[in-house]
């Protein structure tokens, strides 16, 4: 009895560790960006409203829709709903009004994805997307890699990022489990309906040939499947590899080493199905590519490849809420750690020793920066120097050198700087 209790406790602890092992917010936030961004681009030109114009004779409701006596909405309503959905996908991706965006993306997406299933054939390309969107809608995926986070950093510059928490683990693990059950379910289904015969027979060969008879939603991309079908042993080996991968995929949940083999294997299999047989599992590729990699580790390793030299030093007025907020935003964007910041009020003695030509008054009047080449720039030009070293700034660089932007940038900077001197700059709470 005692052993049973101990085993139950051990299992319970393992269960809690699996779902709630503390992790930082970065990986989940990055997954959110990639997932919703990927969905946005995948479905940008998809017109769901066409289902609203199909004759009722085609309407074959699935259990969920038939049971609730739901019907297809008018085409114009579906058109409006899909605009709302695509907008919510974009908002959820960039992280603006993220919680609301993810919730709307889930509800509207669930309806739109379910709609097409009521016309004779249920496809398996999208159900796990609904589950993934549902999990993310309840998560704290907005705590990193989002405009909301930047706005929060601006409002409360003294607050740093959130500490590691299980809140950033369970949504990713939930998607892992959902994906795993897709593979395992497919494997079990083959064993149940065909057993080892699925591998030992010419089933794979037949499927490879049948694919060229317009069998799937789209046709194969190349004719290599027919060449493969010429080799029964190769076709059987493919079948065996597919079945083995499906049945062992559960190991990816618990073993990092197995993940290194099984996840790329699954991605290869899904891509192979598209190329050789036709079915479009692009959504499945997206979910696998987005949720399995440990993005924080990937980011750290990539950043380590970049020479860790200081590129820009910024001198800012730490007693000014606008300046402190702007620097908090830059700190969040400084993924390569190429920016160092000195508060003119707090760190003054250190500044003239580094740049003797600067006076305290100059630094309090305008933000100054020293570039890697030693050039001292100020105001708008200081922000432009930051754009060169902050990755997100790279996309702005062409814009910042458009004729006229220089003039406009200087005027805008001066207008804001003048405004802060008219006591418009209030130090945020927690800074005083």
């Amino acid at each position: 009895m005692h052993r049973v209790v101990l085993a139950a406790r051990w299992l319970g602890q393992r269960w809690l560790n699996f779902w709630f092992e503390p992790s930082g917010p970065a990986t989940l936030g990055f997954c959110r960006l990639l997932f919703f961004g990927g969905l946005f681009f995948l479905y940008l030109f998809e017109d769901f409203s066409a289902w609203g114009r199909v004759a009722p004779v085609f309407w074959k409701p699935i259990w969920l829709v038939g049971g609730w006596q739901l019907t297809v909405l008018d085409a114009s309503v579906i058109a409006g709903l899909q605009v709302v959905w695509k907008t919510s996908l974009a908002l959820a991706a960039v992280g603006l009004f993220t919680r609301a965006g993810m919730a709307v993306a889930f509800v509207a997406g669930a309806y739109l994805f379910t709609l097409s299933q009521n016309f004779g054939q249920v496809y398996h390309y999208e159900p796990f997307l609904i589950l993934a969107m549902g999990g993310l809608a309840l998560s704290r995926a907005a705590d990193a890699w989002s405009l909301d986070t930047l706005a929060a950093a601006y409002r409360k510059p003294s607050h740093d990022g959130p500490a590691p928490s299980g809140e950033y683990t369970w949504p990713i693990r939930l998607v892992w489990v959902v994906v795993t059950l897709v593979f395992v379910g497919a494997g079990i289904s083959k064993l149940r309906h065909a057993g080892p015969t699925w591998v030992m027979s010419d089933t794979m060969k037949t499927l490879l040939i049948r694919a060229y008879y317009n069998f799937s939603n789209t046709d194969p991309l190349v004719s290599w499947g027919l060449s493969l079908a010429e080799w029964p042993l190769a076709a059987r080996a493919m079948a065996a590899a597919a079945l083995l991968l499906e049945l062992t995929f559960v190991l990816a949940l618990v073993s990092r080493r197995a993940r290194w083999i099984l996840v790329p294997g699954a991605i290869g299999m899904v891509a192979g199905i598209r190329v050789l047989m036709g079915p479009t599992f692009g959504t499945f590729l997206l979910v696998n590519v987005v949720f399995w990699p440990p993005w924080s580790t990937v980011g750290r390793r990539l950043a380590a490849l970049v020479p860790q030299k200081e590129a820009v030093t910024v001198f800012f007025d730490g007693a000014c809420g606008i300046c402190a907020g702007a620097m908090a935003v830059v700190r969040r964007l400084d993924l390569l750690r190429r920016v160092s910041m000195l508060d003119v009020v707090r760190d003054w003695p250190a500044i003239p020793t580094r740049v003797p030509m600067l006076t305290r008054e100059m630094c309090l009047n305008e933000m100054h920066a020293v570039t890697a080449s030693g050039a001292v720039v100020r105001g708008f030009h200081a922000y432009r120097a930051l754009a060169w070293v902050v990755p997100l700034g790279w996309v702005l660089i062409p814009l910042l050198y458009v004729p006229g932007v220089n003039w406009l940038g200087e005027r805008t900077y001066r207008a804001i700087a003048a405004r802060r001197h008219r006591a418009a700059c209030i130090l945020p709470q927690g800074r005083a």
């Binding site: 017109d47 066409a50 199909v54 004759a55 004779v57 259990w63 969920l64 669930a110 097409s116 016309f119 004779g120 054939q121 249920v122 398996h124 999208e126 159900p127 796990f128 589950l131 999990g135 705590d143 990193a144 890699w145 989002s146 986070t149 930047l150 740093d160 990022g161 959130p162 590691p164 928490s165 950033y168 959902v178 897709v182 593979f183 395992v184 379910g185 497919a186 289904s189 149940r192 309906h193 065909a194 699925w198 027979s201 089933t203 037949t206 040939i209 060229y212 008879y213 317009n214 069998f215 789209t218 027919l226 079908a229 010429e230 700190r331 969040r332 400084d334 993924l335 750690r337 920016v339």
Partner: protein, 173 residues
């Protein structure tokens, strides 16, 4: 935007209620998926993912096929742009269901009419470059599987099931 340059400061705790909510979601999602696998059925959005699960060594391929009629010519009707929002697989499956549920054939004719109407609307709106067609025909088609799929456009057997022409629609059985 990660805050990689910052020091973590405030803890994000999971309250008891929140933990229950998360567990409820886990149980719903995982339980639903497991139930579909055990029952070997689809309960959208849960599924047993049973596609391609059966032994298939048949040397023939049977399917319904749509054709556009243009004068004495027949052109396959398979492209997504022509069938939108259906694709070539879903239209075949749903026509099969309609055919099986309606021995009189009137529903099949209504379906063909709708297919023709949407084809024409798409053509007139410039959504596809297909030609103006006189009508639509539905065949049951059988192929002997060829290792190089050389007979895709020339099936061994073809039986007319139904035809729709906008001005003189009739049903052939």
């Amino acid at each position: 935007m990660t805050g990689s340059g910052t020091r973590p400061s405030h803890a994000v705790s999971i309250t008891r209620a929140r933990r229950w909510l998360v567990h409820a979601v886990i149980v719903l999602f995982v339980g639903g998926q497991l139930y579909a696998i055990v029952r070997a059925r689809d309960y959208w959005p849960f599924s047993n993912y049973g596609m391609f699960s059966y032994v298939d060594e048949s040397q023939t391929h049977n399917a319904l096929r749509l054709f556009r009629i243009r004068g004495s010519e027949e052109l396959p009707l398979l492209a997504f742009d022509h069938l939108r929002p259906f694709d070539q697989a879903r239209i075949t499956t749903v026509l099969e269901l309609i055919k099986d549920s309606d021995p009189s054939g009137s529903k099949v004719r209504a379906a063909l009419r709708d297919i023709w109407v949407r084809y024409e609307e798409g053509r007139q709106a410039g959504r596809h470059r297909g030609p103006l067609v006189d009508g639509v025909r539905l065949y049951t088609v059988e192929w002997k599987l060829d290792p190089f799929a050389r007979n895709v456009s020339a099936p061994e057997q073809r039986d007319l099931l139904a035809e729709f022409r906008p001005h003189s629609d009739r049903l052939s059985r």
